[in-house]
Symmetry: C2
Subunit: 325 residues, 2 copies
Amino acid sequence: MPELATRLTRVLQLRHPLLSAPMAFAAGGALAAAVSRAGGLGLIGGGYGDLPWLQQQFALAEGERIGVGFISWSLAKSPSLLAAALEHRPAAVMLSFGDPRPFAAAIHAAGAALVCQCQDMQHVRDAVEAGADVVVAQGAEAGGHGALRGTFSFVPEVADYLAAHAPETVLVAAGGVADGRGLAAALMLGADGVLVGTRLWASREALVKEGHHQAIVASDGDGTLRTRLPDIARELAWPPGFTARIRRNAFTERWHGREADLAQAVAVEGPRYRQAFEAGDPENTAVWFGEAAGLVHAIEPAAAIVERMVAQALDRLGLQRPAAA
Amino acid sequence: MPELATRLTRVLQLRHPLLSAPMAFAAGGALAAAVSRAGGLGLIGGGYGDLPWLQQQFALAEGERIGVGFISWSLAKSPSLLAAALEHRPAAVMLSFGDPRPFAAAIHAAGAALVCQCQDMQHVRDAVEAGADVVVAQGAEAGGHGALRGTFSFVPEVADYLAAHAPETVLVAAGGVADGRGLAAALMLGADGVLVGTRLWASREALVKEGHHQAIVASDGDGTLRTRLPDIARELAWPPGFTARIRRNAFTERWHGREADLAQAVAVEGPRYRQAFEAGDPENTAVWFGEAAGLVHAIEPAAAIVERMVAQALDRLGLQRPAAA
């Protein structure tokens, strides 16, 4: 397997410039370990603060060199979670959706790389102030939580900002990256690597119910939208400015544009939403994938996905030609 | 000046795989001619049906080989505009925002290439059915009218669709393409070239008032939003699903989320909007640029913009290395 070396592979000591997204509930230890074994860096999704689950997932990663990601505003409510995670000596800790600065010192003191996911230029300025080793520029096409900037012009704008203000900070592109074309394009835009969510959500190792996996295979990229509905149904206090990209289905059809009504009905609708989620019902709960659904045609092992992405990117970039000559 | 050859340059007989966006009001004959002289294909913006203006802009292009673009739902109301444009023997006619099929035969009969701009997969299927020679996949980061899909994952999804269903149809990426990094990335994603709006809106030849040009230079890419406000203020009957990306300013601050109020106040607010637009007021009217504003730092001649884009893309793609050896 040829390697694709960038600043990201050097900083994080990887064979390939690829991180898996720490998707809450879906990105457990098996997925993280599989991505790391394939040459990238797999991240467990720290989610909303379930310590026993997190410990279990670290155990499932069986000592593989991995990282972990947290939702910053949620971590701020249970900061002991970070200390527990750092005891597993993760190679990197990714922080998204909130101020990274309160956690930066502890992460660096534990010898982990600080990865800050950003959705707009203000987040990037905050990440640089926090001393981020890696900035992830996440575009709005991403599945799950995010904001408004599109990947295509956000990535080069962040590249310019980092070149001027923090030239040692490494840049990763996220949002819509699902194959080797996306990896190659991200490098052209000025990124040093990619973070892959949706495409690895659609892997065998992801903790995703069968009905939800079938839904992404059946969907094209038009079949999603950005909404606050799942956060209302789960009564999660997401800060303003963030929405979740999920599948368009009966749940979004029924409630999109009627957010206040859902909030009022949450005593009934909340349990119904959670029950449907647990059952893998693709219609009456949120199904967490992004616009890259249009590039996903099968549920495959994570290693096969990573290896194909790298091989296709190398081919696009023409980097195999010298070796072939 | 080195050339960058793709399927687009062959189909449209260009030196460089780059079209300028036919931006209503801003893309006149001078801009179109300058882009064509620089090796791309410049398109006059046919706008909302002002025939004398269109004739004047063709005259200003002084016989340069150019194209023209129309807003399909508006063209359907004054179809004689197309016949008048075809008398100028444009190299290409681009249709956006509506059904292209009623106009396809006349365009092909006049020897022009049919270029269909698409915002989702249904538009792509319609374009193929219309016999499009070129499909433009336009992402939501674009300035002006558009829809919801992000450039980064929409382009490869359209590339896959065309490869399977219309392999002769050429693909152009639009939305957030403002420098050579974007051109190179678009080629990696599977496009054969790019369509450039915002970056050429910020050119000397664009018909844009000084105050609006100053606003884009001052803005980063976070400074825009998608909204129906300008269409309400101008009483233009845009079909559902399309919004305009414009600068965040006093106008959007005042009315965003209060669309019905603006519609009710349009007898007063409409003339106020138009007056501010004519005066180049950057605050009290729509200012038409996209997220690529974060990549625009100066108003320059169109030729310089095009030449730098191509040179930077060639450099990124490593295509100059053989020549330099």
